[in-house]
C-alpha cells in the first residue's frame, strides 16, 4: 500500500450537529428535511447561515437532495457546493475536510435528507437481473448471504450474531430519539422468525424520514464556537468498485485496506478508541467491520460478541445511539452525531465515561468503505 503522508491531524473540527425528529414526517421532502437539520446544526454551532461558504449534500435514496435542490430552500449561494451519491456521512465529512484543507471553503454544512418512509420507497424492488428474477431482493438478501458464509466458515451462531441487535436495543432504551425502544432480550430475539434466513427483522434497519447535518470548519477557528470542538484525527477510504466482479465480494475483505490506512496514518490502535460507531443497514456490516478494523480477532467475532463487550457497561461500546437497527435509518449519519455528543459529554444516560476518542466506520454496501477518527484533543 502506497500512501502519501499528509498530516491532517487536528486541522479540521466539527463544531455543530443537528437533526430533525425521526420517524414519519409526511409531506416533508428530503430537501426540506436537510434544511431543517442544517438550521438545528447552525443553532448548535451558534452561527447564522451567512457564515457557511460550503455545502455538501448527500443524495436521498431516490436520487434527490442534490446541492442545487437544497440551495433554493437554504437561501444561500456558498463559494463551494457539492453532492455525493452515497454520503454515509463519512464520505461527506472526508470531502469537507478536503475542501477546507485546500482552501475551497472554510465552514461547510454537510446534510442528508430522507422521506423514504412517508413515500413508501420500494427498497425491496428487484433489479432486472438473474438475481432479481431468482428472488434475491432487499439488502437483507446479500447481507444474509455473507452471514451464512461466515457461519459456515467460522461456526458463528445465531445467538452470538444476535448480540449486535440486542446490544443496540439496550443502548436505544437510553436514547430519547430512538424509534425502537421496547426491551428485546436475547431470548426474545431468538424467538423472532427469520425474515431472510439467517437474518431476522431485528437485524435489519427500518425505514425512517428525517434530516441530519454537521457543521465543519478550520480548527484554528473552532475555539470561537460555543461547544467543545471535535477534531478529526484521521480518515481513510478504500473501494471495491468492481462490485460483484471482485471475488467473494460479499465478504467485503477490502475493508482491511481502509483499516490499515487509518491505523497507519493516525498511529492509533483499536485500544485507543473509547466509543465505536459502525454504520449498519444490517447487523452483518457490524460483524464484518469489527473484524476488519481489528476490534475482534479475525473469524472470532461471534464468541467475542457473546462476551458482551459492545453492550452498555461493556469495555467496547458500539453504536451507543442504538445504531440503525434501533435508533433510526438516516444512512448512518446519526452515528457521527452521537459520536460528537459522546465526546462533548452530552450523551445523557448513555454517556460513555471519559470518552475522548471515537471512530466511525461506514460503507456503501460492497463498493466502498471509509473511516474517521475524531477527538476533543487535537
Amino acid at each position: 500500500m502506497e500512501t502519501i503522508d499528509t498530516d491532517i491531524r487536528g486541522k479540521v473540527a466539527i463544531v455543530g450537529v443537528g437533526h430533525t425528529p425521526q420517524g414519519e414526517l409526511p409531506g416533508q421532502s428530503p430537501e426540506l428535511n436537510s434544511v431543517l437539520a442544517i438550521k438545528e446544526a447552525l443553532k448548535d454551532a451558534g452561527i447564522g447561515r451567512e457564515k457557511l461558504d460550503g455545502l455538501i449534500t448527500c443524495k436521498s435514496v431516490q436520487g434527490t437532495n442534490t446541492d442545487v435542490m437544497v440551495g433554493p430552500l437554504l437561501g444561500i449561494n456558498p463559494r463551494y457546493a457539492q453532492t455525493l451519491d452515497y454520503g454515509t456521512c463519512n464520505f461527506s465529512l472526508h470531502l469537507a475536510v478536503q475542501a477546507i484543507l485546500t482552501g475551497m471553503a472554510t465552514t461547510v454544512a454537510l446534510c442528508y435528507g430522507a422521506n423514504a418512509r412517508s413515500i413508501r420507497f420500494p427498497f425491496g424492488a428487484s433489479a432486472p437481473t438473474l438475481g432479481g428474477a431468482s428472488g434475491l431482493m432487499h439488502i437483507a438478501g446479500p447481507a444474509a448471504m455473507a452471514l451464512q458464509r461466515h457461519k459456515a466458515m467460522y461456526g458463528t451462531t445465531d445467538e452470538q450474531f444476535g448480540m449486535i441487535a440486542v446490544s443496540e436495543r439496550e443502548w436505544a432504551q437510553k436514547n430519547p430519539i430512538a424509534l425502537f425502544r421496547e426491551p428485546m432480550s436475547m431470548e426474545r430475539y431468538l424467538a423472532l422468525p427469520y425474515m431472510v434466513e439467517p437474518l431476522r427483522r431485528a437485524d435489519v434497519t427500518m425505514l425512517s424520514d428525517g434530516g441530519v447535518s454537521l457543521i465543519v470548519t478550520r480548527a484554528d477557528l473552532a475555539a470561537d464556537y460555543p461547544n467543545k470542538p471535535v477534531y478529526l484525527l484521521g480518515m481513510s477510504e478504500q473501494t471495491a468498485i468492481r462490485g460483484e466482479y471482485t471475488p467473494d465480494y460479499l465478504n467485503r475483505e477490502f475493508l482491511r485496506g481502509a483499516a490499515d490506512q487509518i491505523w497507519q496514518r493516525t498511529g492509533l490502535t483499536p485500544a485507543d478508541i473509547d466509543a465505536l460507531y459502525i454504520q449498519n443497514p444490517t447487523a452483518v456490516w457490524v460483524l464484518q467491520m469489527l473484524e476488519y478494523y481489528g476490534f475482534a480477532p479475525p473469524g472470532e467475532v461471534g464468541p467475542w460478541l457473546a462476551e458482551g463487550h459492545t453492550r452498555p457497561g461493556g469495555d467496547r461500546p458500539v453504536n451507543t445511539n442504538g445504531g440503525q437497527l434501533s435508533e433510526s435509518y438516516m444512512w448512518g449519519w446519526l452515528h457521527l452525531v452521537e459520536a460528537v455528543r459522546q465526546l462533548r459529554g452530552q450523551a445523557g444516560e448513555r454517556q460513555v465515561t471519559g470518552a475522548e476518542i471515537a471512530m466511525y466506520c461506514s460503507t456503501q454496501v460492497w463498493l466502498k468503505g471509509g473511516a474517521s477518527i475524531i477527538s476533543t484533543h487535537n
Partner: protein, 137 residues
Amino acid sequence: MTIQPYNKPIPRLDDPDMAPFWAAAREHRLTAQRCTSCSALRFPGLPICPTCLERGFEWTDVSPEGSIWSYVVYHRAFHPGFADELPYVVAIVENADGVRYTGRVVGRREDVAVGAKVRAVFADETPEFTLVKWELA
C-alpha cells in the same frame, strides 16, 4: 386446471450484455462470456474484458456442475410473485469453471449447505424466458 400467468420479475431479455445468455438458457445451456484475447471468463456480461481491456468476446458453454458458495432462505416475499413459494432458497453458486451465478436452489431444504454440490437445471417459465436454477446433486 387453469394455468397461472408467470407473475415474478422477468429480466431484460434484450439487454445487449445479457441477451445471448438468456437465448442459451432457452436452449438449456449454461454460458458465460470468454475474452477472445486473454480467455478470461466473466459473468454477468460486460462490453469489455475487465482483465485485459480488450473488447472481443464470445459466449461459451460452461460446466453445469457447481457448488454453493453461500445461500439464504427467504421467509418474506418482497415481490408478490414469490408469496406462494415461501420459504424459498437463493444461492450464489460457483461452477466448475469458477464462474459465479445467483440462482434458486430446488430440492430438499435440509440438504442445502455451503459447499453442497449442485447442477444447473432450466425452468421454462414463459415461451420467451427460461430461468437457470440449481438442483442439489
